[in-house]
Symmetry: C2
Subunit: 272 residues, 2 copies
């Protein structure tokens, strides 16, 4: 998917919501457990109920790998379903991968070509030759971890490196990578006060912002400091939406929560 198409979808739907499909069999409503593939059944119901309210879906791979081959089948079915029925959705493999060059190429092919995701999240620690293999794919997007929303972010990401925090150094350095126009960045919403500095380095790049909802970030603050003329934001919510209800009404409850966020986003876009 081109960035332009994503922006058009955001304008059309008045939403920059990404729904995280962190699907956990312990939290899936009981009545779905009798299905042949409860994880896919859950995802399908969530997607069917929410697709008009969001522009992106983000399965976190850990939740699928945790179930081994069965989990991979659920993941494959989910991305196939999205690509078949809702090709307008931007899909994110939240994998946080990163390896030496030829190995990163393997991951890139797996996520972009075989599974057909539009984007994948990548950890920056191993540097240029671990990231560039992902950037080489046309109209595919590499979402680099910059500043994450967890406490551990302060262990290394905010330490000073050559006069600026490591995450800013990651932003600066990544701009020099080949095909860096295919980069987006993960920026934790709970650090909204950092967004001004981030935008001074990457004024136009899309940011994937987790942590609105369960992790306590503020949507208003993120919009105020992070929004660009082309929006430039994807706000992710996972548990707050998909586990809004444990009952048979889980999909409608998810849609209600998504609608709440979408209305806030609509307002933010109107005041842009």
């Amino acid at each position: 998917m081109t960035t332009q198409f994503l922006i058009e979808q955001i304008r059309k739907k008045e939403s920059f919501l990404c729904i995280g499909l962190d699907t956990d069999l312990d939290k899936v409503p009981n009545h779905l457990l009798k299905e042949e593939d409860p994880i896919f059944a859950f995802n399908k119901a969530i997607i069917d109920a929410t697709h008009h309210l969001c522009v992106a879906y983000k399965p976190n791979l850990a939740f699928y790998e945790a179930y081994g081959i069965k989990g991979w089948r659920s993941l494959e079915r989910t991305i196939e379903y999205l690509n078949m029925h809702f090709p307008e959705q931007f899909t994110i493999a939240d994998a946080k991968r990163g390896d030496i060059g030829n190995t990163s190429t393997r991951y890139a092919k797996a996520f972009f070509e075989d599974l057909g995701f539009d984007s994948v999240t990548i950890a920056p620690y191993m540097g240029k030759d671990s990231v560039e293999p992902f950037l080489a794919f046309k109209d595919k997007h590499t979402i680099l971890l910059a500043l994450t929303s967890n406490k551990g972010a302060f262990d290394f990401q905010t330490k000073m490196v050559e006069g600026q925090e490591l995450y800013k150094h990651v932003l600066e350095t990544s701009k020099t990578y080949e095909n860096s126009e295919n980069l987006m960045y993960v920026v934790g919403a709970t650090k909204a006060e950092y967004l001004k500095g981030i935008r001074s380095i990457i004024p136009n790049s899309f940011l994937l912002v987790p942590g609105v909802g369960a992790q306590g970030g503020s949507l208003e603050e993120v919009c105020k400091y992070g929004m660009t003329k082309d929006v430039g934001l994807l706000i992710n919510s996972s548990r707050g939406i998909i586990y809004a209800s444990e009952g048979v009404d889980f999909a409608e409850a998810a849609a209600d929560k998504a609608k709440e966020l979408q209305l806030h986003m609509r307002l933010a876009l109107q005041h842009q």
Copy 2:
């Protein structure tokens, strides 16, 4: 597996060799491609031919994920085969994972409990709460990326943070994590001159050293600066061993290459 057991195996076999199972269908000998599961058939033959020469096997997950569900099945069969027939082998899931707390827990369960690996490689960028969920598992080992052997290592890992390089800061910080006795570290052999500094921070921890062979590191240098009284080293070789021949003799050729390295290791242990 306890660290003590691993040390005993190293002494018994006079080897601290780890064989990387980076199995690639493009490089597997032709006659295996007619097998139902060529990747597992290849791995099984390599393991059968080399297990007496090494103490560890390390499948890099990217090579398995690249083949989707089929690849996961090959991985599962490989680790099952190792745990069933060669439980004395230390097994490493080279996954380079790392996510926020509850998600890291999912990965930890998948690799340690469901697949039954002894250890997993982890990227440090997200800090404490992304690493500690792995450390919580008794007699399981978390191998943290410190200094990798690729060129991109110089992008961030060697930058100065509070008076020392980032990778040293990672070493120091990780020592404060709960259950840090379950930590090992990835240290690229091509940076053997760095080993002295690393040993001043972590004098006893095991180091997993890639890059001997295809990536050009020197075994002698690694032993000189990296070895501890309990050895404290696992030297990995992947392509240099498993692709030593493309013919029907691939397993014997792999054993020959492994034997070469084992003899060097035996010497290093005798001169310890």
